[in-house]
C-alpha cells in the first residue's frame, strides 16, 4: 500500500499508528512514575502514594494537573532562549526514537498488510542511535543555560557519560547484525519469532547493552548527572513546573525506548516462546493484539528491572563509571565483535 494508490487509507493508517505509539508512551510514562514510587515504597517497607484514587491510581493525573498550575519560574540569571529550549530537546529524541520500533505483528486493514511500525527504515538501528545521540544536547544545554553551579556540573558529567556509553551501545549490537545480515528492526524480530531469541545467541552483547542502557538513561547505579547527595538535582536543578515535567517525562520515555529496544533486539520483540509466525498469522488481527501484549509485557518487565536495580545497587563514582565504560565494556565489546565474526563464518564457507 502506498500514498499514490490509496491516499486516504494510507494517511489514516499512519496517523493511527502515530496516535497509538504516542499514547502508549504517555500512559506508560505516567504510570511508570507511579510504579516507581510504589515499588520504591514497598522495597523500603513503606506504603507509597495511596490518597488519590484507589491504590493511588489517579496519582499521575493529579501530578499532571499540578504541573499545569505551578508557577513557571525562569530565574533572572539564566540564558532565556536556551533555558526554555532545553527541556523540549531533552524529551524529543526519546520520542522520535520510537518511530522505528516494531510493536506488534502486521495487521490486515481492508486487504492491506500494515506493518506495526511507524517507519520501517532499512537503517533502523543506525537511525535509532543517531537520534538518541541528540539527547545529550538537552542535558548539556540545560546545564549551561541555567548559569548555576550544580546544573553545569551535572550537565557536563552527563554529556561525557552519555557519549562514552553510546559507544558500548553501538558496538555491542554489531554482532547481532553480523549474524542476521540486516539493520531493519522488523527483520530482527521476525528472525527471532521463527528462531531463537538473540539474548541466547549473543549473551555478552546482551549484558553490555543492558549496562550501557542504564548509563544512557542516567539511571542508578549510573545517575551521576543528578546525584542528589552531591548535585541537588543535577542539570535540572533550576527547573520547575512544566519544564521540569519535560525532563521527567523525557527520562521515562528514554527508559521506555531502551526497554523497547532491548525487547526488540534481544528478547524476541512480540514473540511468545513456542509460537511461530504462522501461529500469529493464523490468529488474524488478534495475533497482533496478542503480540502487542507480549511485547508490552517484556517492555514493562524491563522497566521494572530499572526500578529494582535502583534500590539494589549503590551509585558508582565518576572515575569508576568511566573506567567501567572505557576499560572494561569497550574492549569486551570489540572482542565480542571479533568472536562473533569467527563463529558466524558466512554461509557456504
Amino acid at each position: 500500500m502506498s500514498f499514490s494508490e490509496e491516499p486516504l487509507l494510507y494517511i489514516g493508517v499512519n496517523l493511527a499508528k502515530i496516535i497509538i505509539v504516542t499514547h502508549v508512551v504517555l500512559v506508560v510514562c505516567a504510570y511508570a512514575v507511579l510504579a516507581e514510587r510504589k515499588v520504591s515504597a514497598w522495597m523500603q517497607d513503606r506504603v507509597g502514594p495511596n490518597r488519590v484514587g484507589y491504590f493511588g491510581l489517579l496519582q499521575p493525573i493529579a501530578d499532571a494537573l499540578k504541573f499545569f498550575f505551578k508557577e513557571d519560574i525562569v530565574p533572572g540569571h539564566v540564558n532565556k532562549a536556551l533555558f526554555v529550549l532545553a527541556p523540549a530537546i531533552a524529551l524529543m529524541p526519546s520520542l522520535i526514537v520510537l518511530a522505528v520500533i516494531p510493536i506488534a505483528p502486521p495487521v490486515v486493514v481492508m486487504g492491506h498488510t500494515v506493518p506495526m511500525v511507524i517507519a520501517d527504515l532499512d537503517i533502523g538501528i543506525l537511525f535509532l542511535f543517531a537520534i538518541s545521540s541528540l539527547a545529550v544536547y538537552g542535558v548539556v544545554l540545560a546545564g549551561w543555560a541555567s548559569n548555576s553551579k550544580y546544573p553545569l556540573l551535572g550537565g557536563v558529567r552527563a554529556s561525557a557519560q552519555m557519549i562514552s556509553y553510546e559507544l558500548m551501545l553501538g558496538l555491542s549490537v554489531v554482532g547481532i547484525f553480523m549474524a542476521t545480515g540486516t539493520l531493519r528492526l522488523m527483520d530482527i524480530v521476525n528472525l527471532q519469532v521463527d528462531g531463537v531469541w538473540n539474548c541466547f545467541y549473543h549473551p555478552i552483547a546482551f549484558i553490555i547493552f543492558v549496562i550501557a542502557a542504564f548509563a544512557e538513561t542516567n539511571r542508578l547505579p549510573f545517575d551521576l548527572p543528578e546525584a542528589e547527595t552531591e548535585l541537588v538535582a543535577g542539570y535540572h536543578t533550576e527547573y520547575g513546573s512544566m519544564k521540569f515535567a519535560m525532563f521527567f517525562i523525557g527520562e521515562y520515555a528514554a527508559m521506555f525506548g531502551f526497554s523497547a529496544l532491548v525487547a526488540v533486539l534481544f528478547l524476541g520483540g512480540w514473540d511468545i516462546p513456542f509460537m511461530s509466525s504462522e501461529t500469529f498469522a493464523s490468529l488474524g488481527n488478534w495475533g497482533a493484539v496478542v503480540g502487542f501484549i507480549s511485547f508490552m509485557t517484556k517492555v514493562l518487565a524491563f522497566m521494572f528491572l530499572y526500578i529494582w536495580v535502583r534500590w539494589t545497587i549503590p551509585r558508582f563514582r565518576y572515575d569508576q563509571l568511566m573506567n567501567l565504560g572505557w576499560k572494561v565494556l569497550l574492549p569486551i565489546a570489540l572482542v565480542n565483535v571479533i568472536i562473533t565474526g569467527l563463529f558466524n563464518l558466512p554461509k557456504g564457507s
Partner: protein, 131 residues
C-alpha cells in the same frame, strides 16, 4: 517501505506539538509571582559566590575527542556487519572486517597505554607527560 523518512517527519512534528502544547497551554493557568529570591541561582539557600560558567576539566574534552574517532569507526563497521552474513566471498569479508576491528583495537590500546583512559591521573603519567 524502507525509506519512510516522511513518516518520521510527521512523527517529529507530532512530537513537537506534544511538547509545546502543554507548555503554552499552561501559561493560561499559571500564577506569576516572581521576586528577588526566586531569581537567584539555587545553592541550598546560600548566597552564590562567583559566576557559574566556569572552565571545567580538560578530561571531558579528551573523552569527547576519543569518542568521535570511535564513533566514526562504529559507523563504518555497520555496513560491513550488514553484508557479512550473506557475502559470497566468505573469508575475504571476515578478514576485511577483522583487520578493521583490530586497527580500532590498536587505537584503544594506545589510549590505554598513554593514560588517556584514566579518569584519575596517576603521578606516573603526570611525570611522563611533563618530561
Amino acid at each position: 517501505m524502507y525509506l519512510d523518512f516522511h513518516a518520521v517527519l510527521v512523527f517529529l512534528i507530532t512530537g513537537v506539538m506534544m511538547v509545546s502544547t502543554p507548555m503554552v497551554l499552561g501559561m493560561l493557568f499559571r500564577p506569576r509571582n516572581s521576586y528577588k529570591e526566586k531569581d537567584m541561582p539555587y545553592e541550598c539557600g546560600e548566597d552564590p559566590i562567583g559566576g557559574a560558567q566556569i572552565r571545567f576539566d580538560m578530561r571531558f574534552y579528551t573523552t569527547a575527542l576519543i569518542f568521535i574517532v570511535f564513533d566514526a569507526e562504529i559507523v563504518l563497521i555497520f555496513p560491513w556487519a550488514h553484508v557479512f552474513a550473506h557475502h559470497p566471498e566468505q573469508g575475504l569479508a571476515l578478514v576485511a572486517g577483522l583487520v578493521f576491528v583490530t586497527i580500532v583495537f590498536f587505537g584503544l590500546i594506545y589510549d590505554w597505554a598513554k593514560g588517556d583512559l584514566d579518569w584519575v591521573k596517576s603521578f606516573r603519567n603526570k611525570r611522563r607527560v611533563q618530561g
